[in-house]
């Protein structure tokens, strides 16, 4: 049997326990609390995605109300803007964001929320959030996308119903 010093033993046990705790915490947040990273929702052709058509919601991006308090938002990212730039929803609304890019890679982050997606041309990223607080949320592109990257921003305005 290999000799392991007492201090080393403590260090090994503690390190493995810490990683185990972190891993369990991540699993709990994912499967119990429903917080997940975005996965590619759909593949699209970035050359035609901005073309209006009956089957292409990105042809006319914007907010659509599915039911009272339930929305879906189709956002087009391009150099150097989000279209639409602003979205207004009532407090308590659940909004599912579908975001894609028609040119280069972008980022889509709504500050002070768990919405944080990579926007890759040819892919649609999807995440859902409920806005429980009436305030303005800044939306920023967090992936360097060219000289106007710093100006690529938007806003989600949550108002009292």
């Amino acid at each position: 049997m290999i000799h392991v010093d007492r201090n080393e033993k403590i260090y090994i046990i503690f390190s493995v326990s810490l990683i185990t705790v972190f891993f369990i915490a991540l699993a709990v947040s994912s499967f119990v609390y429903g917080i997940q990273v975005p996965s590619p929702y759909q593949q699209v052709d970035p050359r035609t995605i901005a073309t209006p058509g009956p089957d292409n919601p990105f042809g006319e991006p914007g907010l659509r109300e599915l039911a009272p308090g339930k929305y879906e938002a189709y956002i087009m990212s391009q150099v150097w803007a989000f279209i639409p730039r602003e979205i207004t929803v009532p407090k308590g609304s659940t909004v599912t964001f579908y975001v894609t890019s028609k040119d280069v890679q972008h980022g889509f982050r709504i500050n002070e929320t768990n919405i944080n997606m990579q926007i890759v041309p040819g892919e649609v990223s999807k995440l859902t959030i409920t806005f429980d607080e009436a305030k303005e949320y800044d939306v920023i592109c967090h992936e360097y996308c060219g000289v106007g990257h710093h100006a690529m921003a938007g806003k989600i305005i949550v108002v009292e119903p």
Partner: protein
């Protein structure tokens, strides 16, 4: 073998630095984790 081990003292400085590091990791990680939980779900309900 045992005589050889007894020559070395417990590395108190290293242990102290390790403890500080571990407490920091737990505090930073825990704070980020709780912030994430407080910001709510991201899957379609």
């Amino acid at each position: 073998m045992e005589d050889k081990e007894k020559k070395y003292k417990t590395p108190q400085g290293t242990v102290a630095i390790m403890v500080i590091f571990i407490i920091l990791i737990i505090a930073l990680w825990g704070s980020a984790y709780l912030t994430m939980l407080s910001r709510g779900v991201t899957v379609t309900p």
